[in-house]
Symmetry: C2
Subunit: 367 residues, 2 copies
């Protein structure tokens, strides 16, 4: 059974011709016919003032509006959806909803949607397991939708996107520009390269990298880091894998501290960077005096951290907004509608990165 829904209307049996003046406390929510009756017009006329689909005389329009206000009538979105084969809900499908970047992106989508009168529904894909993906996709697609925004921030999100049916307008939100569906992107690889170059420019021989769980084989952040290193002819150490938990960065920081060749670390996000700095400190290493550490995202706490984090600012909120607008363009089939909207995160230089200390970075790399 896929449905667990229950009744939400009070009266199972309709009482027609209810007298409004006597029954102040209506039992069932008013329907369009109630409005029509009270306003002395036909049902389609009420519909016309509701949708603006056709002209209605000012006089009738007014009495319809009055009736609506008096009854506190709200049209049923579901009935509208069925009758018009249109919908005003957009679904967001994602591998997570509460982590910083996700939550801000969703907030951006919601705000843009609400401004246009759309509702946003969210459903999360727990893992890349066949079952989880199928269940989530099923739930999403079962709704009558105006469109879907898929967050490709992680593997579950990417897996879900791949199973979405063709016939529903879809846009993706991502850190890497790809071509299958329209996308709003935050160009991670450029920013990652820039951050890496910044570190190299400070005099570091190379830059180590701690990555968060990638959405595909490799994330844009890792790609950008590697590209910058290669371009500079610097050695490319193996990337270290953190989980999404800041604590995982701490363990990695401790390990890194024991490797005397490490002088600069580029982390997949700010929270991991905070963990790494903590782990380094656990081993008696200071940031940036002993080891420089940079993050990614410009998390709200990154400027408050000790030391304040050098990072790349990702405007997730704006990303969400752009994603929604891209969907709208797609849905209304605007002629020259763009399929992409890309923005490049800007460097935020604070205090967690500095020139390498002369005490470290002497030993050889075993890349």
């Amino acid at each position: 059974m896929r449905r667990g829904a229950e009744k939400h209307r009070a009266a199972p049996t309709r009482t027609d011709g209810l007298t409004l003046t006597t029954k102040k406390q209506q039992q069932r929510p008013p329907v369009i016919a109630d409005v029509a009756r009270l306003a002395g017009v036909s049902v389609p006329t009420v519909s016309r003032v509701l949708t603006g689909a056709a002209k209605v005389s000012e006089e009738k329009r007014q009495s319809v509006m009055d009736a609506i206000a008096l009854l506190k009538y709200r049209p049923s979105a579901a009935a509208r959806s069925v009758a018009s084969r249109q919908s005003s809900v957009v679904a967001v499908i994602a591998g997570n909803t509460s982590r910083y970047g996700y939550a801000e992106t969703i907030r951006g989508i919601e705000e843009a949607a609400r401004a246009r009168g759309y509702i946003v529904s969210i459903t999360v894909v727990d893992s890349i397991e066949e079952d989880d993906v199928e269940r989530a996709v099923s739930l999403v697609v079962g709704q009558d939708l105006a469109g879907i925004v898929a967050l490709k921030f992680d593997a579950p999100g990417v897996a879900a996107l791949q199973r979405l049916p063709e016939h529903i307008p879809t846009v993706a939100i991502s850190g890497v520009r790809e071509t299958q569906v329209p996308q709003a992107v935050l160009d991670e690889s450029s920013a990652a390269a820039e951050l890496t170059e910044f570190l190299l420019g400070l005099g570091h021989r190379t830059v180590h990298h701690v990555r968060v769980p990638p959405s595909r084989r490799e994330d844009g952040r890792t790609t950008g880091w590697r590209r910058a290193l290669r371009k500079a002819g610097a050695p490319i150490p193996p990337a270290l894998d953190a989980s999404w938990l800041p604590e995982s960065g701490r363990a990695i920081g401790q390990a890194l501290a024991r490797d005397g060749s490490v002088t600069a670390v580029f982390c997949g996000n700010d929270e991991i960077a905070m963990g790494v700095i903590r782990g380094l400190a656990d081993e008696g290493l200071r940031t940036p005096e002993d080891v420089s550490v940079v993050g990614f995202d410009n998390h709200p706490l990154s400027g408050l951290w000790t030391p304040p984090l050098t990072t790349a600012h990702q405007d997730f909120f704006g990303l969400g907004q752009r994603g929604f607008e891209l969907l709208m363009a797609r849905v209304s089939e605007e002629p020259g509608a763009r399929r992409f909207s890309s923005e490049r995160p800007a460097l935020v230089i604070r205090e967690s990165a500095a020139a390498p200390s002369t005490d470290r970075g002497r030993s050889d790399l075993t890349a």
Copy 2:
């Protein structure tokens, strides 16, 4: 115009009796009639296997299932909703969605909902302005809903809850137990009192309080703090107001540093506590050696902070789950259904609080 929706079905004109074998690439999504035709049964029979509302012979059941799989048919939730006067969407209405507690709570709601086959829609109320509240409520109520979960974490959320119509099952999620509607609560005031008593027990003469924007006149955290102080006969300094931004805590920390009587500070949440600690440090004061600071929430980064934060653990995810289950109980009108579900945040003792230094806390309070 309240609707900005667009068509999402490809073919405006129906082509009946389409031959499935020749047209591999279907233009319009299959409807129940297509399934019935292909399976050689009536439409209601298909509906029966879909909903499980009545017995269907195994034979027909199987051919219906086959047809569904072959056509990749998904029932229209909107049509179901209209026909059955049931819905499988629950709306979440909140003043914010991306801050830690909010996001985790919503994640909890979503997970519990998905497990029961429900979809969750979210809409935010930007402010307590009449217009914002009305727009948000309108959007929420316009959907056909199984129920509503209102987050009373802030003033906009409270304002929205008050305007929600009676006829839709509603539960609130809150930090204080109140009685109007069923509620899932995290008992803030007890935990706040406990935290305050903990500080007092360490030897502090009193505890200062920095609060986040309250949802009503006063939040449970502030109430609990005041209660503990009164009970202990300690002076009650005026509460200081921070915004939701961690940076606002920093400015307050700097101000607090200049008041020699301050030895212990209880902050409305961990992020503000981090800001306060930073502000104190800006003025050369160490935590906890010079001033003890405790937070609230047990934010994921609180254990990584320097020093690790003493705080109260709030299980927001579980809170969201409990809220949803409460709604389900209400919706199905379970006989002995509870209207409340309360849990008490547990103290998490780390390193940001210690006995007062002998250098501070000498000057008199001007409470």
